[in-house]
């Protein structure tokens, strides 16, 4: 039976933004620890570390989830997507572009998580209603914007995603 002992690091393999990665992690290491400390992918932010704030939200096999509530080992074999995977080469994605245009971020600490939840919402549902957008955002705390610009950005991005890519 595979027992990962507490005092040693053990290999964990998953794909990160489409590329296979292998890291060594203690059993108690969180996915946020593996991403930020082992891989250096610091786009995923760490806020409350008990699942409330949403800053660390990433996509696990296409679905948004809290990276602070997953053990690194639980990502074994999964497809992990983070904010670093959103842009196309050096161009911002339509969602990121809309956030910039609508001032949907100020300090930006919550933004990476919000982008990952909205991206997961729009992928299967490019015509998501405002209710669904607000529902997705309900799992995130933003202490700067008051949320209105975030909703506006999400609505603008939805319209662009529906109409095809912008800034092509």
């Amino acid at each position: 039976m595979p027992r990962l002992t507490k005092d040693e690091t053990h290999p964990v393999r998953f794909t990160l933004n489409g590329r296979p990665v292998s890291v060594r992690a203690y059993p108690r290491a969180l996915l946020t620890d593996a991403l930020r400390h082992e891989i250096g992918a610091t786009g995923t932010h760490v806020g409350c570390e008990h699942g409330v704030c949403g800053a660390c939200t990433v996509q696990v096999d296409g679905e948004p989830a809290r990276a602070c509530l997953m053990l690194a080992r639980q990502a074994e074999g999964c497809e992990i997507r983070t904010v670093e995977g959103l842009n196309n080469k050096d161009a911002l994605s339509p969602l990121q572009e809309a956030f910039r245009e609508h001032f949907a971020l100020q300090c930006g600490f919550c933004t990476a998580g919000i982008l990952m939840s909205l991206d997961a919402l729009f992928s299967p549902q490019p015509d998501a209603e405002e209710d669904a957008i607000r529902e997705a955002l309900s799992g995130h705390l933003c202490r700067c914007t008051g949320y209105a610009p975030i909703v506006q950005a999400a609505l603008a991005a939805r319209n662009r995603i529906k109409g095809g890519p912008i800034d092509a």
């Binding site: 039976m1 595979p2 027992r3 990962l4 002992t5 507490k6 005092d7 203690y26 059993p27 108690r28 290491a29 969180l30 620890d33 570390e49 008990h50 699942g51 949403g54 939200t57 696990v60 679905e63 948004p64 989830a65 809290r66 602070c68 509530l69 997953m70 053990l71 080992r73 639980q74 074994e76 939840s117 529902e135 997705a136 309900s138 799992g139």
Partner: protein, 275 residues
């Protein structure tokens, strides 16, 4: 890394999981979705020395629908049940309650049985399990037992689970004909823990039940006769009986008031649903 150190056993089958839990005794905990346990680990409110990951055991990922019961394995995620096409028809109460369980991002990982094991007094899934008269199936080495939900929950975050034992499934009685079901909740924000949550069932003989979470240390049920002339008095008595306490989110008085008013509304919604 916030949790205290632990060994992690990634069990491939039930015998591996049960052996690891047996060896770990009181210091071993099961992890599935981890949406309740990992916050406890991060805050070091729990510091087990062994964690047993059961999510890769194939038989625990099943939803089994029988004629009168729906059995949900310990690795079934809340979002998986939410997307089960028969949910609204077979388990209308759970269908109504699931969107209130935390946020999408947590339901994508959290399991039904994990919420039951955690036994938070405000949690919606233990409330539904008690309201419907469900059961919890527990297994340890060489012993399997089935416990009624009302006996399983013993207090705030305290259950009948023994050392070396794990939940393998929970079983919800499926919708019965001519029975109405309703769920209502008041929380500070959608997705927060309930200040008060109510689940009502209205049976064809006119009798009804109201089960309330978020007030006492476990969800509690009020049985109501077919004649409900004195409903307000009964609800008032029940509200006092639950011994609400003041906390950060609401006063005891506000909770009592919610039990009376939200309780009444939930019952009223369940009654016409009998078809």
């Amino acid at each position: 890394m916030k949790p205290a150190p632990f060994d992690l056993v990634a069990a491939n089958d039930m015998s591996e999981a049960l052996e690891a839990l047996h060896q770990g005794g009181t210091e071993a905990r099961v992890i599935a979705g981890g949406q309740s346990l990992v916050p406890m680990l991060n805050m070091r409110l729990a510091s087990p020395t062994t964690l047993v990951d059961i999510t890769r055991i194939p038989e625990l990922s099943r939803i089994e629908a029988n004629t009168d019961r729906i059995n949900i394995g310990a690795a079934v995620r809340q979002s998986t049940l939410e997307r089960w096409p028969d949910l609204a028809d077979r388990l209308p109460l759970v269908h109504a309650a699931l969107p209130w369980v935390a946020h999408t991002q947590l339901r994508n990982r959290g399991t039904i049985c994990g919420s039951v094991a955690h036994a938070d007094p405000s949690a919606e899934l233990p409330l539904c399990l008690i309201a419907l008269g469900g059961t919890v199936t527990l297994r340890r080495r060489r012993k399997t037992r089935e416990v009624a939900a009302r006996d399983f929950f013993q207090g705030m975050m305290s259950t009948d689970l023994a050392p070396g034992e794990m939940i393998v499934s929970v079983s919800f009685p499926a919708r019965k004909s001519s029975t109405g079901y309703a769920f209502r909740e008041v929380a500070r924000r959608h997705g927060d823990f309930a200040i008060v949550a109510c689940a009502a069932t209205a049976r064809p003989d006119g009798t009804a039940t109201l089960t309330v979470g978020g007030v006492a240390d476990t969800p509690r049920t009020l049985e109501l006769p077919a004649d409900r002339a004195d409903l307000d008095d009964r609800l008032n008595e029940f509200a006092w009986h639950l011994q609400a306490r003041d906390d950060l989110h609401a006063t005891a008085r506000y909770r009592r008031d919610l039990v009376r008013k939200l309780g009444r509304e939930t019952l009223k919604e369940a009654l016409p649903c009998r078809d």
